[in-house]
Symmetry: C2
Subunit: 443 residues, 2 copies
C-alpha cells in the first residue's frame, strides 16, 4: 500500500528506523518500519519531525503493543522536509504555546482530535434538522439593527475612520457609509429566523455570531458559531422535546463516530468525559419551573456565593447544583420571571413569567436557551415598549405577527460550548481553528 | 388528519369554501374543502389571504385537476388572521417588490422553492465532503490580514468613529481597537484552509465571505457564502476530478430531492433548466489548457466584444462560447498565464503559466475556480515578492511550506452562484434570505 502523511516522530533504533506517520484523518498514527536495505536509509535516519513523506510498503501484523499493524516500507520518499526549527518536536506543549501557532496545531494529537470532533458535530447538527425536514436558512451576518440589546456589537464600515464624512452639524454622516446607515455584525439570527419559520414552518440557522465584549475569559470569544432552530406551531413543551432529542443525537454521534478521539480526551484531558456524555444520552431530561427550581435551591441548605431568590438570574453555581445534585441529570428550567428575559418571549397567563427554558447539564450548567415566542401582536408591541424599546424599529418583525401569526418557539446552542462539552477542552480558544478574542486576531 | 399552515388563497364558491393551505414544507399546497355544516362557515367565507389556520379533516380523492387528494374539513380553527393589508394577495408580484418584503417572501411559491433548494444544496455540500472524510473547518470571519488583494474589504471596529483615539502624530490609533490592530471581514478562508489541509489532509470550509465593492449588479452581493475545499497530496488533475464529482453530486441531489421545486422553476422561471442540469450531470467534463482555449476561440471566427489573445483574462462571453459552442458541455480550462492569477498558484515548468483551473458550464460560464497551490517555499516567497507583496506579512502562511510542505490543491465555489444556476433565478438578491448590497442592509 501507499500512504502519505507527516512524521510525528522519527526513532532511529538499532538497524531500523521507526516513523510514526499521521495524515490527520484519524487519531492513530501508522508505524512505518524502515530497514537498512532501503537506498535512502541514511537520509531517513536523520529525517526531521514534521516532515511530509510518502511510503510504499506492506502492511504486516505488528509485534509492538498498542497497534495491530505496521507498515514495512519498501520505498520512502521525502516530500517536504521540516526545518529543524519546527516547533512541534516530540514533547508536551502547553495549550497556551500552541495557541501562538494555531496554523500548525492541527498537527498535534489533541487539536487534530478537537477539529475532527468539531466537524463531526457540525455534520450531526445538519443531519438532525435535515432529516426532520427543517430548512437551513443563512440569516445575515451584517445587520442594520443594533436594537436587540443582546450584547455589544462590532461596527462594519467602509468609511475612512481617519476622516469620516460629516453632516453639517458635525456628526459622522452614516448615509455615506456602504449600506447608507450604521451597520454591525449580528449577535443572533433569531428574529430573521422567526420570519422564515412563519412561512416555512421548521427552519434552523447555523452561522457565525459576534460579541464585542472586552472579556478575556476561557468561555468568551468575539466570534463564535451558533445554531438557532425555529419552529412554527411549537409551544414550549414541543421546544424542549426537540432540544432533548437534538442533544441526544449530538452525544450519540460523538460517541459513535469519534470513539478514538473521545477515548483520547477521556484519558488525557477530562477523565469521566465519556461516562458523562453517555449519561446525558441515556437520561430522560427533567423539566422544572424556575419557581420550583428556586424553591429547591432555597430549601437545599447549600451555601452559594450568590444568594438565591425568586426574580434573580440563576448563576452557574445554581445551575450546576440543580443538574448535578438536585436532579442528577439534565434538566430544563422553564418559565422565568419576565423581568430577566428578552422582550420576544411569550408572556405566561400568570402575569409574571415568560415561556422561556434553559437546558442545564452536568459540569457546565446552561447548554441551551430557548423560548416560545410572543406571537400576539398587541402583547408583543406592549412588551417592546415596556423594555424601553421603540416598536417602530421592529416594523418588519411585527409584520410577522400582523399577517397570519402563529405560535412558534426556538432555541439557541452555542456551537463552541457544545464542542467544549464533548471534548472536555476548557478554553474556547482551543476549540476554534483561529480564535478571535480581545487584542487577538492573528492568522 | 390535522394540518396547520397559511391560506395562500381563499375561494368562496357556491356552498363551499376552498382554502389553499401551505406550510412551506413543500411546493404543493393542500386544498381544504369547507362545507356549510361547519359552525364557523360564515367566518371562513371571509377568511383573509395569509391567515394561519389549523384544519382537522379527512383526506379524500380530489375531483379537481392537478391534485390527487384534498382535505375535507370537519373543523377549521383560525389561529392568526392576516390583516387585510397583507401584501401577498393572489396576484403576480415582481421580484423587485418582493425584495422590499424579504421578511414575508418565503410565503410565496417562488421563494419558498428557492430557499428549500438552497437548504438542500447546502446539505448536499456537507454530505459530499463528509462522506469522503473531509474535515469541516470554520475559518475566521474577522481577519487582521488585508493583504490578499482579492477585493475591497469591510473594516470591523469598536472605535468611536466620531472621535477615534489618535497617535501623537494624529493618525487613528488602531492599537486601541478591539483587536489591537486593523481588522476586516474575510474575503476568503483559503489561506487558513491550506494550513489545516497541511495537517488534516482533506478539509473544506463553508461560510460567509464579504466584498465591499460598490457594484450594483445582479451578480454581486456584499455578503455571500463560499465553499472552499483544500486537499493535501492533490495535484491539479485530482482537483478537477474532485470538482467534477462535486458538481455532479450537487446536480443529482437537486434533481432527486427538489423535483417539485425544480419543475416549478423549469416551467415558470427558466425553461430548459432541468434539461441543462441533467446534461451537466450526464456529461464527462472536458479539460483544456488556457492556451488551447485561446487558440480555439481565435480560430472560431466568432466576433466577441472583447478581443481574445493569449495573456488576457477570459470574459464571460468567451467562457460561455467555449462551454456552450466549442465543447458543448462543462469544461475545465487549466494552466492560465501567471500574470493574471494569484500569487499562491503553483508555477508550471513552462515559466509562464500556473496550475489554475476554472470550471465553465453552459449558461453562466465560470462556476468554480481553483488551483494547485505553490508548495515550494522559495518559489512562493519569490512569487509574493514579484506581486509587490511583503513576505513578512505571510509569516504563518510560509511556515506551512517550511515545516513539512506537501503538494496540495483546492477550489472555491460561490454558493449563491450555484443556487442561481440550479433554480434559474437571475438576481443574486433573490437567492439570499436577506441580501446585503450597496445602500441596502434592511431587516
Amino acid at each position: 500500500m501507499r500512504v502519505k502523511g507527516w512524521a510525528r516522530t522519527v526513532r532511529d533504533s538499532k538497524q531500523v528506523v521507526f516513523i510514526e506517520l499521521n495524515d490527520g484523518s484519524c487519531f492513530a498514527s501508522l508505524q512505518v518500519v524502515v530497514n537498512p536495505e532501503l537506498a535512502n536509509y541514511e537520509q531517513l535516519r536523520k529525517l526531521t519531525t514534521g516532515s511530509a513523506v510518502e511510503v510504499v510498503g506492506e502492511v504486516i501484523a505488528s509485534p509492538a503493543a498498542g497497534q495491530r499493524v505496521e507498515l514495512k516500507a519498501t520505498e520512502v520518499t521525502v516530500i517536504g522536509l521540516a526545518d529543524s526549527t519546527f516547533p512541534l518536536q516530540k514533547k508536551r506543549h502547553s495549550f497556551e504555546f500552541l495557541r501562538e501557532i494555531a496554523h500548525l496545531r492541527a498537527r498535534t494529537n489533541t487539536f487534530g482530535a478537537v477539529f475532527r470532533v468539531r466537524s463531526a458535530l457540525a455534520q450531526a447538527v445538519h443531519e438532525f434538522f435535515q432529516q426532520r425536514g427543517f430548512v437551513y436558512v443563512h440569516t445575515p451576518i451584517i445587520t442594520g439593527s443594533d436594537a436587540e440589546g443582546a450584547g455589544e456589537m462590532f461596527r462594519v464600515t467602509t468609511l475612512d475612520v481617519n476622516k469620516p464624512p460629516r453632516t453639517p452639524e458635525g456628526a459622522v454622516d452614516w448615509h455615506e457609509d456602504f449600506f447608507a446607515h450604521s451597520s454591525f455584525l449580528t449577535v443572533s439570527g433569531q428574529l430573521n429566523g422567526e420570519a422564515f419559520a412563519l412561512g416555512l414552518s421548521d427552519i434552523y440557522t447555523f452561522g457565525p455570531t459576534f460579541r464585542a465584549e472586552n472579556s478575556n475569559t476561557s468561555r468568551h470569544a468575539a466570534e463564535f458559531w451558533m445554531i438557532e432552530p425555529e419552529m412554527a406551531w411549537y409551544d414550549l413543551d414541543d421546544d424542549a422535546t426537540l432540544a432533548e432529542a437534538f442533544v441526544k443525537h449530538l452525544m450519540r454521534t460523538a460517541l459513535e463516530r469519534c470513539a478514538d478521539d473521545l477515548a483520547f480526551f477521556n484519558k488525557q484531558i477530562d477523565p469521566g468525559l465519556v461516562a458523562r456524555l453517555q449519561h446525558v444520552l441515556e437520561s430522560s431530561f427533567e423539566r422544572m419551573t424556575y419557581t420550583e427550581a428556586v424553591r429547591r435551591l432555597e430549601s437545599s441548605g447549600q451555601k452559594f456565593e450568590f444568594p438565591v431568590h425568586w426574580g434573580a438570574n440563576l448563576q452557574a453555581e445554581h445551575e450546576r447544583y440543580l443538574t448535578e445534585t438536585v436532579v442528577g441529570r439534565p434538566v430544563f428550567v422553564t418559565d422565568y420571571p419576565t423581568e430577566i428575559k428578552a422582550f420576544y418571549m411569550r408572556r405566561n397567563d400568570d402575569g409574571k413569567t415568560v415561556a422561556a427554558m434553559d437546558l442545564l447539564v452536568p459540569k457546565i450548567g446552561e447548554l441551551i436557551g430557548g423560548s416560545q415566542r410572543e406571537e400576539r401582536l398587541d402583547v408583543l408591541t406592549h412588551a417592546i415598549r415596556s423594555m424601553g424599546l421603540n416598536p417602530e424599529h421592529y416594523g418588519w418583525y411585527l409584520d410577522t405577527r400582523r399577517f397570519g401569526t402563529a405560535p412558534h418557539a426556538g432555541f439557541g446552542l452555542g456551537f463552541e460550548r457544545l464542542v467544549m462539552y464533548v471534548t472536555g477542552m476548557e478554553n474556547i480558544r482551543d476549540v476554534i481553528p483561529f480564535p478571535r478574542t480581545p487584542r487577538n486576531c492573528e492568522f
